[in-house]
Symmetry: D2
Subunit: 469 residues, 4 copies
C-alpha cells in the first residue's frame, strides 16, 4: 500500500535534488530527506534519476489504415511503452464522416479495455462537421473528459478535412477551451504529386518523401496557425519535421499566438536518405510527414532548446516490414504509413538530447512528460513529481548503455528503425499510480490495469479565491 523511494535524484522540469518519496494509495504524499520507512516497501533508487513517468501524446494503437491495421494493439503497445518509461498515452480516436462521434469513442474504449497496462486518454479526430456532429461534439468532449480534437489537413482520400471544417473545429474548441491538434500537410497537392510520380513509373519508397515536400508542411502549418488565431483557439501542431513549419510556429509564438509544437524522435535523428536505401529497405522509414534532409535536424534541436517546440510524441503506428509494409512493394503509395517508436521515444530523446548536451535534463522532463500533461489537461494529476500527484515514476539509470534492436524490443513489429543504435540511459523500474509495471527491466504489470483518464482544461490557473472557496 505504501512505498518509499530512497536515495534517488528527483528530477522534474524545474528541479533536481536528492530526497526520498513516500507514496500512499497511488499518490505522492511526502518528499523529504531521510523519510521514515514506517512499513513502506522500499524502492532503492540510489544513484539514479527519479523522474515523472513519460506521457506520450501521440499514439496510434490498433488503428485501421488502408485495409490493414497497426501491429501493436493496446496490450503490446502499452507494455512496450512502459518498458520505455511511458506511463500515460493519449491515443487518437478516429471517427469517420458518416458515423456518430460517440460510436467512434465507444469503439476506442473497446479497443483499450482490458488491455492497457498503463493509463490513457483519447484525442477525438474529426474529418467532417455536419450539423449533427457539430451539436454532438461539445457534449461528447464534456462527457468523456476529452480536451483535444484532431484534424488532418492531409490524407486526401482518408481523413482530410476541408478548411471550413478545420475552422469550425477551431471555433468549437475555443468555446470548450480545448486544443486542436493538426496534421499539417497539404493533402490535395500531395495527392497530385503522388499521381504524377506514379504515372512517371516512380515506385520506390524514396518517392514517398519526394512527393511530400517540406514546403507543403510549411504551407499547411501557416494555414492552421492563421485559422486557429482567427477563431481564437489553441493550436497544437503534431509532428513538426522541418524548418519551413518551424519558421511559422516561431513567428506565430513571437506574435503571442497560442501555438504549440510537437516533434518526434525520428525527425530529430534520422533523415531522408533512409528512404533511399537499396531495395525495399526504405519502406521501414515510410511515415508522414516523411523524413527530411539532414539539415532540418539542427533546426528542430534548436527549437527544442529555445522552447519553441514543447513536446515529443512517438507517433507510434507500427506496421511489420514483412506482410504490411510490403503491400507497397510495387507502389510506394501503398506502403502503410507509420513506424514503431512508442518504446524508444524516451531513450532516444535522453540519449541524443541530454547525454549529447543539446538540451538540459529539465527540458527533457518537460518535453517527455510535463508539457504534454499541461497542454492536454492531465496536470497536476500526471506529469510531475510533487506532493498530491499520481505516483507515475520512472527510475532511470543515466549511465547504462543499451543497443536497440527488434530482437529485444517489446513492440509487436518485426523491425526497429533504430536497429543497432546504442543509447545511453535506460528506465530500470516504472511505476504507475505507485504500482510497479516494470521492475528491474522486467514487465511485472497487469494487462488491463491502465485507467482511462478524464481530463479538464481549466481556463485560468487556480487562484487564492478558488483555494479559499
Amino acid at each position: 500500500m505504501k512505498k518509499l523511494i530512497t536515495g534517488g535524484l528527483i528530477t522534474t522540469a524545474t528541479d533536481m535534488y536528492e530526497a526520498d518519496i513516500l507514496i500512499e494509495n497511488g499518490k505522492i504524499v511526502q518528499i523529504g530527506k531521510n523519510l521514515a520507512a514506517d512499513g513502506a516497501e522500499i524502492v532503492d533508487a540510489t544513484g539514479q534519476y527519479v523522474m515523472p513517468g513519460g506521457i506520450d501524446p501521440h499514439t496510434h494503437l490498433d488503428m485501421p489504415f488502408n485495409n490493414t491495421v497497426t501491429d501493436d494493439d493496446w496490450e503490446s503497445g502499452t507494455i512496450a511503452a512502459a518498458f520505455g518509461g511511458t506511463t500515460t498515452i493519449l491515443d487518437f480516436c478516429l471517427s469517420a464522416g458518416e458515423e456518430k462521434l460517440t460510436t467512434a469513442v465507444d469503439k476506442w474504449h473497446e479497443k483499450a479495455k482490458g488491455k492497457s497496462a498503463i493509463d490513457y486518454g483519447f484525442h477525438l479526430m474529426i474529418s467532417d462537421l455536419t450539423p449533427e456532429t457539430e451539436t454532438e461534439l461539445p457534449l461528447l468532449l464534456e462527457r468523456e473528459g476529452i480536451t483535444s480534437v484532431k484534424v488532418f489537413m492531409a490524407y486526401a482520400k482518408e481523413f482530410q478535412a476541408t478548411d471550413r471544417t478545420l475552422f469550425k473545429a477551431f471555433k468549437i474548441a475555443k468555446d470548450m477551451n480545448a486544443v486542436v491538434m493538426v496534421h499539417c500537410e497539404n493533402g490535395s497537392v500531395i495527392d497530385e504529386l503522388v499521381e504524377e510520380a506514379k504515372q512517371a513509373g516512380q515506385t520506390a519508397p524514396i518517392y514517398h518523401a519526394l512527393t511530400r515536400p517540406a514546403e507543403l508542411e510549411g504551407e499547411a502549418t501557416k494555414r492552421a496557425i492563421e485559422l486557429a488565431h482567427i477563431a481564437g483557439a489553441k493550436l497544437y501542431v503534431v509532428h513538426v519535421t522541418c524548418k519551413e513549419a518551424l519558421d511559422e510556429i516561431i513567428s506565430a509564438r513571437e506574435k503571442g499566438y497560442d501555438v504549440y509544437g510537437e516533434t518526434c524522435p525520428p525527425y530529430l535523428t534520422l533523415d531522408q536518405s533512409a528512404l533511399a536505401q537499396p531495395g525495399f529497405e526504405g519502406a521501414k522509414y515510410v511515415w508522414s510527414p516523411p523524413l527530411r534532409p539532414k539539415y532540418h535536424q539542427e533546426h528542430l534541436w534548436n527549437a527544442l532548446k529555445a522552447k519553441q517546440l514543447q513536446t515529443i510524441g512517438s507517433d507510434q503506428c507500427s506496421f511489420s516490414f514483412n506482410g504490411k509494409k510490403q503491400l507497397g512493394l510495387h507502389d510506394f503509395s501503398k506502403i502503410p504509413n507509420g513506424g514503431p517508436f512508442i518504446e524508444d521515444r524516451f531513450s532516444i530523446l535522453y540519449s541524443e538530447g541530454v547525454a549529447k548536451g543539446r538540451i538540459s535534463i529539465h527540458d527533457f522532463v518537460d518535453m517527455i512528460s510535463t508539457s504534454a500533461a499541461k497542454i492536454f489537461g492531465l496536470y497536476p494529476q500526471k506529469g510531475t513529481i510533487a506532493v498530491g500527484s499520481d505516483a507515475d515514476i520512472v527510475i532511470f539509470d543515466p549511465t547504462v548503455k543499451r543497443e536497440i534492436s527488434a530482437e529485444t524490443h517489446h513492440m509487436n513489429v518485426d523491425y526497429n528503425a533504430y536497429e543497432g543504435w546504442e543509447v545511453t540511459g535506460e528506465p530500470i523500474s516504472v511505476l504507475v499510480r505507485g504500482e510497479y509495471v516494470i521492475k528491474n527491466k522486467q514487465f511485472v504489470g497487469v494487462v488491463g490495469s491502465g485507467k482511462y483518464i478524464k481530463r479538464a482544461l481549466k481556463v485560468k490557473p487556480k487562484t487564492a479565491e478558488t483555494i479559499n472557496a
Copy 2:
C-alpha cells in the same frame, strides 16, 4: 530552529500543489501532506501562494554616477527588496579602468557588509582589459565565486568598453564558464546625438529618449550576440526594451545561440510619453535604455510568454527627484540615469502579468526567481522550493489590492514611477534561510544578516556518475 509552513499552495516554475513545508537550519527538509509540527514554529499560509523568494539579478545600490550617488544603499535597498518579495539580489560591482579589479570587489563588500538584510552576490563590471586585469579576472572570479561579468556598450564617457574589450571578456568568460551581461546601446553614436540635441537647445527630459533610438539598442544587441557567439560564450542581454533588440535575441536563439534576455517592469508597463510630461516631471522616468513608444510593450510580453526572455531585473538605481534628478533641470544629459524598482518588481510583474492573464503563474516564478538562479549559479541553493534548498520563501496573497506610492514605499527616494497604480497581490511574509525578514507586512529582519553567496557555474548537469562519486 524549525518552522512548518502549513496550508499554502506551493508554487514553483513547474508545479502548484497544496502541501506543508518543514524547515530546519534554514533549509527545506520535507514537503508533504499534513506534516507533523513536532515542535516547529507554525507559519500559517492557508489560502496563499508559497513561492520561492524573488531573485533580483540587476541592482545598483550605493552606486556613484556622475558626481552623485544613488539614494538607496544596501540597507534601505535590501529592506525595500524584502518588502517586495525579493530574498537575494545580484548587484553590479563597478570597476574603473585604472584600478585593480580586486579593489573594486573589496569596495563592494564594504558597501554591503553590515547592511544587507537579504542574501546577495556581485556581478563584476569590466570597462577595460589590460594585460594585468586579463590575468587578474579569472583568479578573482574563482576566488569570489562570481560567475557573471558585466560590460557596457553605452555610456561613452563613463563605462563603455571597446569591441575589443568586449570580445576579450567573452573569451575569458567562455573559459571560466561564466556569463557576460551586456548593456546594449551604441554609446558613441548616442553621444553624438546628445551633442546634436544640446547644440539645438533641446534640454527637456524627452530628449533623453529621443537621443537613444531603439535602432541603436537593436544594433548593439546584434553586435553583442555575434561577438559572444564567435567567442563561444554565454550572453545575457540586460534590460531589453524594444522590438529591435528582441528580434535579434529571438533570431539568435532560433539558431541555437546561448543568449538570454532580461527585461524590467517599466519597459513592460510604462512608455516614452512619460518623459514628455509638462515641466520637469519626465525626469523621474529617465534611465537607460529609455522608455519606448507603447507598441513595444506587446512584443515584450509576447517574448516573455514564449520564453524568449528569461528574467526580470529591477535595474534599481534610485535618484530622488528633488536634489538629484534636478541636476539635469537645464540639460537632460545631466539627469542621473535610473529609477526605483527594487520594491515593486515582483508585484508589478504579478499584477500586470499573471493577474491580467498575460503569463502563467509558473512562468512568473521562473522569471522572478528560478531562471536567474540557474543562469547565475545560485541554483539549487536558491530559486526554487525543493527539498535541500534554502528556505527563501514568499507567502503571497494574490487577492489583496495595494496602491503603490512614495508615501508608503520603503525605498529611500522621494517618488515612485508607479505612484497611484493599483496592483493585485502582495507579499505577506518573507523568509530568508528560514528566518522572517517580513512578517505580516512588517520588517522584522536583521540589518546585516544577509549573506554573500559564492556561486559556481557547472559545465553540465549533474549525472549519475557524479552522484555515485
Copy 3:
C-alpha cells in the same frame, strides 16, 4: 501617317532625356535631337514628359457579378482609361465550371468588339479543371495568344478553385510558360466569418472588411507561392493589400522564386476607416480584398520602392452607388464588390508616388507600364519608348493640378472613391499606335478602334544566335 513629337522629356523605366520622336505607321522609327519634320504632323510636347502609354493589367469591364453587372462596359471603360493615360488593358475573361473555355473567350471578344477605344488582351480565368478543360486550356492559350491564367482562392460560392485545380493550373502554365494570376484570400473561411457576422446581425459595410482579415490574405498568398514553386510555375499575386501578404512575397523572392506582386491605388492611399463611415457611405469602398488599417500603406510603398512589387493594377470593377451598391443596404455581403479606378490609376500613382518623393519617376513608368508589358508578353511591342515599339504614348504635364470628381470623370459610375482629392500631374494627350485618342484633354479617338493583342511569352531573352538566324 507620320508624326513628330518634339521638345518633350522622354521618360522610360530607365531613361530621361530630351529628344524628338518620329512615328511612322504607328511605330516609333527614330529618336533624336532636332529631327527633321519632313511632312510629319508635329506634336509639341515642350516642357512635358513623354512616357509609354499605361498598361492596366487588371480590369473587369462588362462583368457579371451576383445578379448584376459592372457599370462600365468596353466603351465607357476604355475611354476613361485613355483619359487616364492607359493605352492597353488586360481584362479578365471569366469562365464558368460547366462551359467550354472557348465559349468564355468568344463571349469576351464579343463584349470588346466594336467598343474598345484602346488596345487590349485577356487573362483567362479558370475555376475548375476537368479532363476536358485540361486538354482545351493549352490549345486555347496558344490559339488566342493568351499568356496568363487567373485563379481565385476566394469567392467560395462563385469562382473559388480548389487547391487541386490551382496546382493543376500551375502545372499547365509551367508547360506553356504562362503566368498564373491568383486572387489570394481564403474564401472558405471568409464564408464562415460572413455567416457568423450575419447571424450576429452585423449588416453594415465595415463588416465586409472585418470578415476578411489580412491574415487570410497572407495565408492564401503563402499557399499560392508554395504551390507555384513546387509546380515550377510563375506566380503573379493580384491586388496585394497588406504586410501579411507582402512578407510572403518578399521572402519568396529572397529565395529566388518567380513571384510577382501587384498592388492597386486604393490600397496605397485609402484605408479601412472608409468603410466605417456613417450610414451606407462605406459601401462605395467595398471591394476584395478590403481596405486595410492605415499602417499597411507604408509597407506597400516600401515594397514598391524596393521593387518587391512590380505592377499597379486598377482592379476596375465599377458599380454605381445608387442602384447597385445599394443591393447590400441591409446586408453587407450583398454589396457588389468593386470600385472605379481605371481612370485615376496613373494619376494617383504619379501624384502620391512620384510627386511626394516615395518612388522615382523611372519606377513609376516601370510599374504603370513596362513591367506589366514584360510579365504578360506585350513587350517590346508595348510598354516602352524605343525604336520599333508601338507608338503608345502619353504626354504628361507634371505641374498641373486636378481635382478628382465623379462630376468630371469619364467612367459610367455615379461616385469616385477619390472625390475631392487634388492630384498633381495630368495626361494631356494620349496616342495609341500613333493616333490620338486624347488630344488636349479631349477624347478624339474612335470607339472600336482598339486592337486585340495576341501575346507570346518567350522562354529566354533573344540571343545573338537568334538574331543571326
Copy 4:
C-alpha cells in the same frame, strides 16, 4: 567626328531592339531604323549586342597597402578594364588621418593623369574626422564633383574609422546628398581573431577566411545600416559576400531605408575552398571580406535577381603571386589583400549570370553599368544608351567562347583567379565618348585620354518646372 553603329541589338537596363546609333562629338544624337550614314564612319554591329559601357564602381589602382603597392596602375588597369568592356571606373582615393583631404585628392589626380585610357572619378575615403577635415570635406566634395565617401569598418591598424567618425560621415553626406560607401566587417574583433590564430601557429592562407567569419560582416552591415538610417543618409554597402549581410540589407530595404548593395564576381562564383588549396596557392584568393562557403552564392544570385543588390564592383586590387602575395608565405596576415578582377567583371557576370539564366540581360546592364551611374551621379552622361548621353558603348558578341588566363589577360599581374575558366560572350569593340578604345579585340586607345568626371547628385528627378526654367 561622326560614327554610325549599324545592325546591332541595342540593349539597355529596360530595352532591347534593333536600331542604328548616330554619334556626333562623342554623344549619341540619334537612334533609329536605317539611319543615313551621311559621312559617318560605319561601325558594323550586326548580330551583336550594343550595350552601354561598363561602369566599375570599385577599383584600387596604384594603391599602397602594407608596405607594398598594387601591381596595376592607371595605365595597365584602365587598359585591362577597357578590354573587359568597362568605360568608366570610380577609384578609391585614400586619405590618411594626419593629412589634408585635398592632399589625398591631389595625389590621386597625379596617379591618374596621363595614364587613364578610360573615363574616371574618385570616391573619397575618410578614416578620421577632425574639426579640420569636417570643415574641409563638404567643400572638397563640391569642388571636385565627388558624390561618394568611403569609410572602412575593418582594417583596424590601417583604415578603420570609429563608429563616431562613421556617424559623422553619414551626417555630412546627408547634407551634401552624397552616398557613403562602407566596408562592413568588424575590424577590431578580426584583429583579435588574427592574433589568436597566429598565437596558435596557424599561418596558412585559409586562416585568412577563418579569422573573418561572415557573422562579423553581418554585424557590421547592420551597424552601418542603422547609423546611416539615424543620420538620414544613403548607404552603399560595398562587396557584400554572405547571407548574414544580405539579410540585413533586405530587411532594411523592406523598411524603406536608402540602402544599396554591391557584390563582386568572386563572391558569386568562387568559394572558401579556394583558400584551402595545398601549399601557398590559396594566397591568390586572399582579399577581404574573404570568399565564403559555397551556399552563400545562391543567396547572392537570388538577391541580384530580386534587385536587392544593385551593382557589381570588381574590387580590383592586384598583387602578383610572386613577390607580393609571397610576403605572407609564413604568416597569412601578411598576404596583401586583393585580387585582379577589373578585366573579367563584365564577362563573368554575363557568362555566369545571363548565359546561365540566373539574371535577365536587362538586369545585367543595370548592374554592370546603369545603377552605378545613377547611384554615383554619372547618369545620364554615362550608364545608358540614350540620345544625349556619352557614346560609351560596348559591342558584345554573346556567342563567342573565351578561356580566361593570365597568359592572355591584360592586367599587370602574374595570375588570374579564373585561370582556365571558359566564359561565354566577349566585348569586341569598346568606345569611350565615341572613340574606339578597343577595336576588334585590340587596344587602339590613347593612354591618358580618359577624362576625370565631375559628378553631381541631384536631390530630385528633373521635373517640368525645371525643364521649363
